[in-house]
């Protein structure tokens, strides 16, 4: 085994992990604030992929040539649109069931997930769709021979950089702004927060919107990188991101990102140096091991029994 192969697998894992992390943030935020899993989250990511293609086609029609500008515009438009989807999911599947049995919103979210999936299938067709590659090229790092190099494409670099920037922005929002403070208050004690004048319904809606926004970032980046998507990509991505969120400690923001990167690296290294057939088995075994020794995940805070 040579160094460049090892480094290449690290790059592969980091890119994959950044995508997992971005989607995982949505799961972890919703869980942190209402203690429930948002099963429709993977579909939001899938819709973001379709929106990317639609907006990109629209911009091309308008004659926009510059890739960086196009990507920025598409990112902004997609985030805005998926935020609306995130808000609607909360409004339709969660808010009416706020005081119902814990199981009820879970089921309604699965329902929304099926509806979104089939809505896209019927309106956009079941075929694999794609976009022309607008972000070509990349770097050959540590080149020491004709075959010995580490390849980092521009799209991959964009994924990692954007993931880091989005995480910092989100962290800033939660830690430094008034709305972020309200979010933290609702997370700690929803009843108390509402007694002290925090509009909890609004806060929960904001959290869904933020989560959807992060899924949109992931959707745009993945579409730019892999170029193709279909109505079913939300399922696999959702499962993996949820695993990442649990691995990192569900409810914890840095945990989601860390969980994503750990999962991505674990998959890449196992696939690269042991066996691709069993990479998912390895990833989930890792999850089981972590949960045995640290039930709240890598960065999760153990839940204190409230008396």
């Amino acid at each position: 085994m040579t160094g460049h192969i090892f480094a290449q697998q690290a790059v592969n894992g980091l890119v994959l992990g950044s995508v997992y992390g971005l989607i995982a943030v949505g799961y972890t935020m919703v869980y942190g604030i209402i203690g429930m899993i948002n099963f429709a989250h993977g579909e939001i990511y899938m819709i973001a992929a379709y929106l990317t293609a639609i907006f990109l086609a629209g911009l091309t029609l308008l004659g926009l040539q510059s890739p960086p500008l196009a990507i920025l515009l598409v990112l902004a438009a997609t985030i805005a649109c998926t935020a609306l989807y995130g808000w609607s999911v909360e409004r339709i599947a969660y808010r009416p069931l706020r005081h119902a049995n814990r199981l009820a919103p879970l089921i309604s979210a699965i329902g929304i997930s099926l509806i979104l999936q089939n809505y896209v299938r019927l309106s956009q067709g079941a075929r694999t769709q794609g976009i022309p590659s607008i972000l070509d090229g990349g770097f050959h790092l540590f080149a020491s021979g004709p075959d010995a190099f580490v390849r980092l494409t521009h799209a991959q670099l964009l994924i990692v950089v954007t993931a880091i920037i989005s995480m910092f922005l989100l962290h800033f929002f939660i830690a430094r702004t008034a709305m972020g403070r309200a979010c933290r208050a609702v997370q700690q004690d929803r009843v108390m927060a509402s007694l002290l004048g925090v509009n909890t319904d609004r806060v929960i809606a904001i959290v869904f919107v933020l989560g959807a926004g992060m899924a949109a970032v992931a959707g745009v980046l993945v579409t730019l990188n892999y170029g193709s998507f279909d109505f079913f990509i939300g399922f696999v991505a959702g499962i993996k991101a949820f695993t990442a969120a649990v691995l990192g400690g569900i409810g914890s923001l840095p945990g989601a990102m860390l969980g994503g990167v750990v999962l991505g690296l674990a998959e890449s290294f196992f696939s690269g140096f042991v066996n691709t057939d069993y990479k998912d088995v390895f990833a989930f075994s890792l999850l089981v091991l972590v949960l045995i020794f640290k039930p709240s995940g890598l960065l999760g805070v153990p839940e204190v029994e409230k008396v």
């Binding site: 592969n12 994959l16 892999y226 079913f232 140096f273 066996n275």
Partner: protein, 373 residues
């Protein structure tokens, strides 16, 4: 009085319906009409629909018309069995054209065999489809063991590859094809440098591609479908791995181009498929008919057409609706189809199959590899 009249009307309507029923023969068309493989389902449906229309226009089966019933299995084995049961018990079809994915065809054909219904697949190439002694199971395409031989011969003798990596998608079709490739590579004295399965539905195969680089593969064989083959070849090229990718008939669709992200990624991809049915002289008129309707009969469209012709020929000749009788007649008699004369052996496989190698061009089309070694 009014009530009595209503009853009489209902009875009359029922009687009329029953009479109409007697004049039609229901044929099930089963395949992935939805889901990731829906492109192939569309090819099935287009071919079957056109064939049924042409047969009905030419007088049908002794005056009875063919009526098609859709069955959507989404390439899911469980759904395929449910669809098969519905076609047999609820729709009472006389014969079934389908399914597409071998993993769906294999369990579904057991249902048809139990119901005594003739079932012919235009596309499932896994050997198990006809190897289990089901009296009603047949196909109008080749088998993976034949396809693997052509793939291996080409890789070793034409591409002169020394270090061949064999990948598959862990599905019945894909892994079966990869195994056939591996077996024939062994008889040619080559041991594959890598044999691994990726997961269907995923998009990131970068780790696997890096592994291909680390084992210095100079040719990659992939048993699977276009939805995974596309991203795989794209990531190979992005990581600077220019080894040729060779695959089977699972990527015979324009959708392969979409899932790879454009013609520049698919250039130089090879695949085995039956000799282009669009070039067989007997099919010229039918191909023209498709093109006039604005549809290019690519991939399995004409296979589906030929399958429907075979079903109709058996129905006409035997004047029977019994699946075993129909199948036995087909196994004993040649049928003139849009793809030339077809003959079957006792298993229900075609007596001759003509796999050839195709190459995807930089225009995003596929053409036969002419320069054979």
């Amino acid at each position: 009085m009014k009530k009595w009249l209503a009853y009489a009307c209902t009875l009359l309507a029922l009687a009329l319906a029953a009479r109409l029923e007697a004049g039609t023969i229901k044929i099930g068309v089963a395949g992935p009409l939805s889901g990731a493989q829906a492109a192939f389902g569309e090819q099935f449906w287009r071919g079957a629909e056109q064939a049924a229309r042409d047969i009905n226009a030419a007088g049908g089966i002794h005056g009875d018309t063919l009526e098609l019933v859709k069955g959507d299995d989404a390439c899911e084995p469980k759904q395929a069995v449910a669809v098969a049961n519905r076609l047999v018990d609820h729709e009472h079809v006389t014969a079934v054209l389908g399914h597409f994915c071998s993993s769906s065809t294999i369990p579904a054909f057991e249902v048809y065999a139990e119901g005594g219904i003739l079932s012919i697949t235009p596309a499932s190439t896994n050997p198990m489809v006809t190897e289990r002694g089901l009296p009603t199971a047949m196909r109008t395409c080749g088998r993976d063991d034949q396809q693997g031989v052509v793939g291996a011969e080409f890789t070793v003798k034409h591409l002169k590859a020394q270090r061949v990596a064999v990948l598959h998608d862990k599905d019945t079709y894909g892994q079966g094809l990869a195994d056939a490739m591996k077996a024939h590579l062994a008889t040619l004295g080559r041991k594959e440098v890598l044999y691994e399965g990726l997961t269907r539905g995923e998009k990131d195969f970068n780790a696997l591609v890096t592994k291909l680089r680390s084992v210095q593969a100079d040719a990659v064989y992939f048993g699977g479908l276009h939805s995974e083959a596309g991203p795989l070849v794209r990531q190979m090229r992005e990581q600077g791995l220019n080894a040729p990718l060779i695959s089977g008939d699972g990527i015979v669709s324009e959708t392969f181009l979409t899932s790879a992200g454009g013609p520049k990624y698919v250039e130089g991809v090879f695949m085995t498929f039956g000799a282009d049915p669009r070039k067989i002289p007997t099919g010229k008129a039918v191909v023209e008919k498709f093109r006039q309707a604005g549809y290019e009969p690519e991939g399995y469209t004409l296979y589906s057409y030929a399958t429907m012709q075979s079903i109709a020929a058996a129905l006409t000749a035997t004047k029977s609706r019994d699946g075993v009788k129909l199948a036995n007649w087909l196994k004993a008699n040649p049928v003139e189809t849009v793809m030339g004369t077809k003959r079957w052996n006792a298993k229900g496989d075609l007596q001759t199959s003509d796999y050839v190698m195709y190459r995807w061009t930089k225009e995003g089309k596929y053409e036969e590899v002419a320069d054979k070694p």
